[in-house]
């Protein structure tokens, strides 16, 4: 009897444990549902809209400001869920795949938006009033297949080569206007014991090779061919020039001795102490990230000039990349989320959010932003040789990180230029094939 009692007790405990475990698993969703219902109702302070975005991007001061303004004026709430910046795309895509779709998504747009199936998932804003207010430089980024899916709402920077004006003056150097002049400047700096360019190659993304690709692909025909598998990087002579420029610059010492272990974290220090004279970067970085207070050279000591990477004789700048606000068209709160986007597009609101922020205007009606001193100093040159961002958002399968890794392999001597191009093509084609893009199937 005692033995039987023990058995029954053991069985009951096991069953209770299993039941407890299962109820614990399901309990969360039940609570979530209750919570969701609670926040859906307007009785206790309005609607809560969920927003997914890259954690860094969503935490910018002007984003916080617009969320605050919206919450104050409507009583609704924005639940910002910042996703890990380095894995944003994979985490966000996985969430979408599993049906975890937020009310609002912050995304850079371009071809990578296709993975989210915009036609099925996002509100079509083509006929929205604010579309005409979007600056011409930002308009292309808001669309896929001719449909406007997102409101561009982020800082719009100009990328180029930033140089230390004082060092240039001390060394008697003039701002170069051709590739040959740029190479000459690098050599003179090197001879004077100054590292010409700070290249944080260890992080791979700061290789920023897409800057050199924009002039190559600004011709729409070549872009169409690469996106339909009618040509490859290996077939394009300028792509060979681009990689040869990286290789020879590294070998000549233009990136310094430690480029293979240099990381972006040291940018301020290396530029600020004058160890290096130039960096490929974007103008708003000097306003938001550069540590002017800790070093000899302040952000005003830096000027902006074109980037010379062996692909454009007169150099190039890259136009702004903007983050879009997209609305989940299948969500319960689609109307409120659309209202939020319209709120952000109101000139009064965006001018308040971007008051004093260094950015080129994203909207025609934007008046409170300021232009960076670097941008102002190079405005004429930007108008002359600047290009919109093409490679990153428009080439299907382009990956700044994967391509950067291929260039790392080139720089450490594992592969030559030809093999590097093949590797970059393989990486790009792998992704395009996964997408079942016409020509890659």
């Amino acid at each position: 009897m005692k033995k039987r009692g023990k058995k029954i007790a053991a069985l009951l405990i096991s069953t209770a444990l299993a039941a407890g475990m299962l109820s614990a698993c399901s309990g969360g969703s039940g609570d979530a549902k209750k919570e969701s219902k609670k926040t859906d109702g307007k009785s206790d302070g309005g609607v809560t809209l969920t927003l997914y975005g890259n954690a860094d991007d969503a935490a910018k001061p002007y984003m916080k400001k617009i969320f605050q303004l919206y919450e104050e004026k409507t009583g609704n709430k924005i639940d910002v869920q910042g996703l890990d910046a380095s894995n944003f795309e994979s985490v966000c895509l996985t969430k979408f795949q599993t049906g975890d779709i937020p009310d609002i998504l912050m995304h850079f747009g371009g071809y990578s938006l296709d993975a989210y199936n915009p036609a099925e998932n996002f509100v079509d804003f083509t006929d929205a009033k604010w579309v005409d207010d979007i600056a011409d430089t930002s308009k292309a980024q808001t669309m896929r297949d001719g449909v406007v899916y997102g409101l561009p709402f982020w800082e719009s920077s100009v990328s180029g080569c930033f140089y230390n004006k004082k060092i240039f003056e001390e060394q008697g150097l003039k701002v170069p206007t051709t590739q040959a002049e740029f190479d000459e400047v690098c050599q003179k700096l090197l001879d004077a014991g100054i590292q010409p360019i700070y290249m944080a190659a260890a992080d791979s993304w700061p290789l920023l090779y897409q800057f050199g690709m924009d002039p190559i692909f600004k011709d729409g025909d070549l872009l169409e061919k690469i996106n339909s598998n009618q040509t490859t990087y290996s077939d394009i002579p300028e792509m060979t020039s681009l990689l040869e420029w990286y290789k020879t610059s590294a070998e000549k010492g233009y990136f310094g001795k430690d480029y293979s272990t240099d990381t972006w974290d040291y940018s301020s220090e290396v530029l600020g102490t004058g160890e290096a004279a130039m960096i490929f970067c974007w103008d708003t970085w000097f306003d938001t990230d550069y540590d002017s207070e800790s070093y000899d050279y302040t952000s005003d000591d830096f000027g902006l000039m074109p980037i010379f990477m062996g692909t454009a004789e007169e150099g190039t700048y890259e136009g702004g990349n903007n983050s879009l606000l997209l609305v989940n068209k299948n969500g319960d709160k689609v109307d409120t989320a659309t209202e939020f986007v319209n709120f952000c597009a109101d000139p009064e609101n965006y001018n308040e959010a971007f008051d004093g922020i260094a950015t080129t205007p994203t909207f025609k009606g934007m008046t409170t932003n300021k232009l960076s001193s670097q941008y102002q100093g190079a405005e004429e040159s930007i108008a002359k040789v600047g290009n919109p961002s093409i490679a990153n958002p428009e080439i299907i399968g382009f990956s700044q990180n994967d391509g950067g890794k291929c260039i790392q392999e080139l720089l450490v001597g594992n592969i030559d230029v030809k093999e590097c191009l093949k590797l970059m093509d393989d990486e790009r084609i792998k992704v395009a094939t996964s997408q079942n893009v016409e020509g890659f199937k």
């Binding site: 096991s14 994979s90 996985t94």
Partner: protein, 288 residues
């Protein structure tokens, strides 16, 4: 035999159900995706046969990852086991500071991989890194520890060994403390020397413990991912990739099926190594 401790078979039903639902089914279903075209861009997943597995074997980074993984596992297993053994023997002596030293050696084991990775990244940094400052004190030039394959593999291995040595010491120490002093006393009375005592008494008795150490080090070494991810991200280029980082890379580009295919190949390698070692160690223990 204590028959009271043998429970009836039906008592296994609930644990088996839980095991099947929460482990067997998810694993099996998960691995099945290796034979599909599942990725972030397709909506209808379809069967593609061995395409992804073939792709794994034709990928130029897989052999690099395999070699790196084996090096990490081999170096960790040998060094952690040997050092763990040596330190355990020292800490098994009647030292006054024994407990304090044991704690100190175990502290790295409680740090997360992220913390350890960041500490060792800072130590091995080319600019201002402590190791390079020491190297320069001896008149040598700066070394780009994380800038080329073999120095990076070395630096990551050092970090991994540092992190895991504490576990090995604790496990071996437990084994040493379970050796009955009576055996030692008896051997001493028979005139056994220190080496003979160690070789014929201590070592055979703690061999099962050492085997556990070796097996854990081997399996966790083969699964190396976190420290590589933090310290080099698999770079420069793909020079320090492991199977773990390859899987992560594929995931990040939305190629989920290819990621699962790499995982499947890796699991097979892991099982082969673990089973082979188990067989080998059984023979070893029996021979002892």
């Amino acid at each position: 035999m204590d028959t009271k401790k043998i429970y009836p078979r039906y008592m296994m039903i609930i644990p088996v159900i839980v095991f099947v639902i929460f482990f067997v089914l998810p694993s099996t279903i998960g691995y099945a995706y290796a034979f599909t075209d599942w990725n972030s861009y397709v909506h209808d997943v379809s069967f593609v046969g061995l395409k992804n597995i073939i792709e794994v074997f034709s990928d130029r980074t897989v052999p690099i990852a395999l070699v790196n993984t084996l090096i990490f596992a081999g170096a960790k297993t040998i060094i952690v086991t040997v050092l763990g053994f040596v330190f355990a023997l020292i800490l098994n002596r009647q030292l006054k500071t024994r407990n304090a030293i044991r704690t100190v050696y175990f502290i790295p084991a409680i740090f997360s991989a992220l913390v350890v990775g960041l500490i060792f990244s800072a130590l091995f940094q080319t600019r201002n890194g402590t190791i390079n400052l020491l190297v320069q004190m001896f008149g040598a030039g700066k070394i780009q520890w994380l800038g080329s394959r073999w120095t990076a593999v070395f630096a990551i291995s050092i970090a991994e060994i540092w992190r895991n040595l504490g576990y090995a010491i604790v496990i071996t120490l437990a084994g040493l403390q379970s050796v009955s002093p009576e055996y030692i006393e008896a051997a001493k009375i028979d005139g056994a020397s220190g080496w003979a005592l160690f070789k014929n008494i201590t070592l055979p008795l703690i061999m099962p413990t050492v085997n556990v150490n070796i097996l854990f080090s081997l399996i966790y070494g083969l699964k190396m991912f976190d420290l590589v991810y933090v310290m080099t991200g698999g770079g420069p280029g793909h020079d320090t990739e492991t199977f773990g980082t390859l899987m992560m890379n594929e995931m990040a580009t939305g190629r989920y099926a290819q990621s699962v295919a790499i995982n499947l190949v890796f699991t097979v390698i892991l099982v082969i190594v673990a089973v082979a070692y188990q067989k080998f160690s059984e023979r070893w223990e029996n021979a002892e």
